[in-house]
């Protein structure tokens, strides 16, 4: 392992990679801070650019954007009371009151250090847990991989937002787009209406449409609103005494964030609200939570950056993207001809370890850069969303075309942008669509291979113990959110006042795929 870490260091520390690490952090911070623009959108826009880079440089760049955009969301949450990303929603509850009390600098300082702490914690967990899991997964055959793909698909019930049925519908539509092209086993054409569809839907074009184009379509229907006065940011360093005071909060937030991140489909905002709620229960100091308590900023910020590393564990170890962001990373890896799962560690260990280290160093770079940039945030936040819309679209279209110089990909991107908009209008979440679009072919090809190996018999479902256990976990993962929701609906009709408090978190979770 030490040898691999050293190989990762050697691959990571080139001038080009360091430059893109800093540049990615800067891009992520700015995009994350601007309300309406999300980290996922930034990653989707940048994926085509990574096509011409080496695998390590591309992944370093995307990692830096991912980590810093999650933190960037807290800047507008604190200064404007509008979370830049949904994962910063909980930060608004105490960060904005702190800014109104003249403590904007302190709140931003806390959010910076908390994010760095959560990010570093999750990077360490990512490195050690992923390698252990991947080593175990080396023994997997098609039966086990089919079960793992089913586990990934089962999370669509929990990422389905308010309506589980609509979440499932979104997932099935994603599966439909995944079957377009050739049958993985027999090569039969399916729904190939154009020669360009023979190799299936271009994943990156679809993702850019869903994240990039849709963000502009959404702002087209919004009335442009003026932001209120932005408070002055004074000194942002919070001092060692405050750091010592917040250490237990950071630890709890980081652990919660990382664990929630590892669970496919659980989502960043679940982690932030859970961390916020946990800290609220532990809190004995004044002011109260919701009135500008520093711990109310520290807990969700440590948790949301804790999710970043955690969410990469199932993708890198098993090849299963548990959320939309990891699906985007998968898209970038596929563009470079790399596959995730144990193969990545046996064939491209330097890339895998440099990715782990990138998560670590992206968070380290974020601290000084974030603290420095906070002074200029007032200017950045005053850039109107209406001016950015056209630039985003131009970037989307150019980026999509550049993947394989195909005009058909531009059409695919526009189509998925429209589909995403239709989903938005009908309250259908897009996260299940993305997860199923990615996992559909994995599930199908492994099922077919397992059936061939078992002479057409489905007995592998119960004769392979690992596959059986994973399938049972999938059943639990699928039905628990459904049962929880049914219980909640029942309680709501009986005791409406008891469940009112938890509705806030549920409402925001409906938009989790936007992050």
């Amino acid at each position: 392992m030490l040898q691999n870490i050293l190989a990762g260091f050697a691959a990571l520390f080139t001038w080009e990679n360091i430059l893109f690490l800093v540049f990615g952090t800067l891009v992520g911070l700015i995009i994350g801070a601007l309300p309406g623009l999300t980290g996922n959108m930034a990653i989707a826009l940048m994926v085509p650019i990574t096509y011409t880079m080496s695998a390590t440089t591309g992944l370093v760049f995307l990692t830096a954007i991912y980590c810093s955009s999650i933190f960037g969301g807290s800047i507008s949450a604190i200064l404007l009371g509008i979370p830049g990303t949904i994962s910063s929603f909980a930060t608004t509850l105490d960060g904005y009151p702190m800014a109104k009390q003249g403590k904007a600098g302190q709140a931003l300082g806390i959010s910076t250090i908390s994010s760095v702490f959560g990010g570093l914690f999750s990077a360490i967990v990512l490195m050690f847990l992923t390698t252990v899991l991947a080593e175990f997964a080396l023994k997997f055959g098609p039966a086990e991989y089919f079960a793992v793909a089913v586990l990934g698909l089962s999370c669509i019930a929990s990422i389905g937002g308010k309506s589980i049925i609509k979440g499932l519908l979104s997932g099935f539509i994603g599966l439909f787009f995944a079957v377009i092209g050739q049958d993985p086993q027999r090569g039969t054409k399916r729904f190939v209406f154009d020669i360009h569809l023979l190799s299936g839907v271009t994943l990156v074009a679809a993702l850019i449409g869903i994240f990039g184009v849709i963000s502009v379509l959404k702002s087209a229907e919004k009335k442009s609103k003026e932001t209120g006065p932005i408070p002055e940011v004074d000194h942002v360093w919070i001092g060692w005494k405050m750091c010592k005071k917040l250490l237990p909060t950071w630890l709890r937030g980081s652990v919660i964030g990382t664990i929630i991140g590892i669970i496919p489909g659980a989502g960043t905002n679940v982690a932030t609200f859970l961390a916020y709620d946990t800290e609220n229960k532990f809190n004995r100091s004044k002011p109260k939570f919701g009135e500008g308590n520093p711990k109310g900023v520290a807990a969700p910020e440590a948790a949301n950056n804790g999710v970043t590393g955690g969410s990469m564990v199932p993708l890198l170890a098993l090849g299963v993207p548990g959320n939309a962001t990891s699906a985007l990373f998968l898209g970038a890896l596929l563009l470079k001809g790399l596959t995730t799962g144990p193969v990545l560690f046996t064939e491209h260990a330097d890339v895998a370890y440099s990715l782990f280290l990138a998560f670590f160093f992206a968070n380290i770079v974020m601290a000084p850069l974030g603290l420095f940039l906070l002074r200029y945030m007032k200017k950045i936040l005053s850039i109107p969303e209406s001016l950015l819309g056209g630039i985003i679209l131009a970037f989307c279209m150019t980026g999509v075309f550049s993947i394989s110089s195909s005009s058909f990909d531009v059409l695919t991107c526009i189509f998925f942008g429209l589909l995403g908009y239709a989903f938005y209008k009908f309250d259908i979440p897009t996260a299940p669509l993305i997860v199923c679009l990615v996992l559909g072919s994995m599930a199908e090809s492994n099922l077919q291979q397992a059936l061939v190996a078992n002479k057409g018999s489905y007995s592998f479902l119960w004769t392979h113990p690992v596959a059986l256990i994973v399938l049972l976990i999938s059943l639990v993962s699928f039905f628990v959110p459904i049962i929880t929701k049914m219980v909640k609906t029942y309680r709501k009709t009986r005791h409406p006042e008891v469940v009112a408090a938890s509705d806030l978190a549920e409402d925001t979770s409906d938009e989790m795929d936007d992050d």
Binding site: K166, L168, L175, F176, V179, L393, V410
Partner: protein
């Protein structure tokens, strides 16, 4: 909302049925299993959404009466929103053709200026230079740095 769900249910049933029929008619038998399962899944979920939509509509009709004036203003506002969205999509389609057959920079300038104006930006002194500079920079970066060859010439 219930009306939207009814519409969604009907569209889903239609879409799922099309998948099933297309699979049966056009795809070889050995490769039919997966698409058929997906088709049936969409039909069943569509039927559930439709049933829930009808149930909620009946419930809503019982609860409300005489709010037509407010609804009319809502419809006008909705129409304005959808027209804006349609115009942005129209700009994307214009971009698709212009960048292929006329000029990349021209297509990008039209896209940036058009979208920003539709989104409500009116400061022309900033908008025009930003659109021109962005278009040229994007062209040069993708052409020179990323080695992308655009189908139409620069100008």
């Amino acid at each position: 909302m219930p009306k939207k769900d009814i519409g969604l249910g009907v569209v889903s049933i239609g879409f799922g049925t099309w998948i099933i029929l297309y699979t049966a008619a056009e795809i070889k038998k050995k490769s039919q299993f997966w698409p058929t399962v997906i088709g049936w899944g969409i039909v069943i979920l569509g039927a559930l959404i439709l049933a829930m939509g009808i149930f909620n509509l009946i419930k809503e009709k019982k609860a409300s009466a005489g709010k037509t004036a407010a609804k009319k203003t809502d419809a006008k506002e909705d129409m304005r929103k959808y027209l804006k969205v349609a115009a942005v999509v129209g700009l994307l389609v214009v971009f698709y053709f212009v960048f292929q057959y006329v000029s990349y920079v021209l297509a990008t300038v039209i896209l940036i200026v058009g979208t920003s104006v539709l989104l409500g930006y009116r400061n022309w002194k900033i908008l025009i230079p930003v659109a021109v500079v962005m278009s040229v920079v994007l062209y040069l970066v993708f052409w020179k740095v990323f080695n992308v060859h655009f189908p139409a010439p620069f100008y």
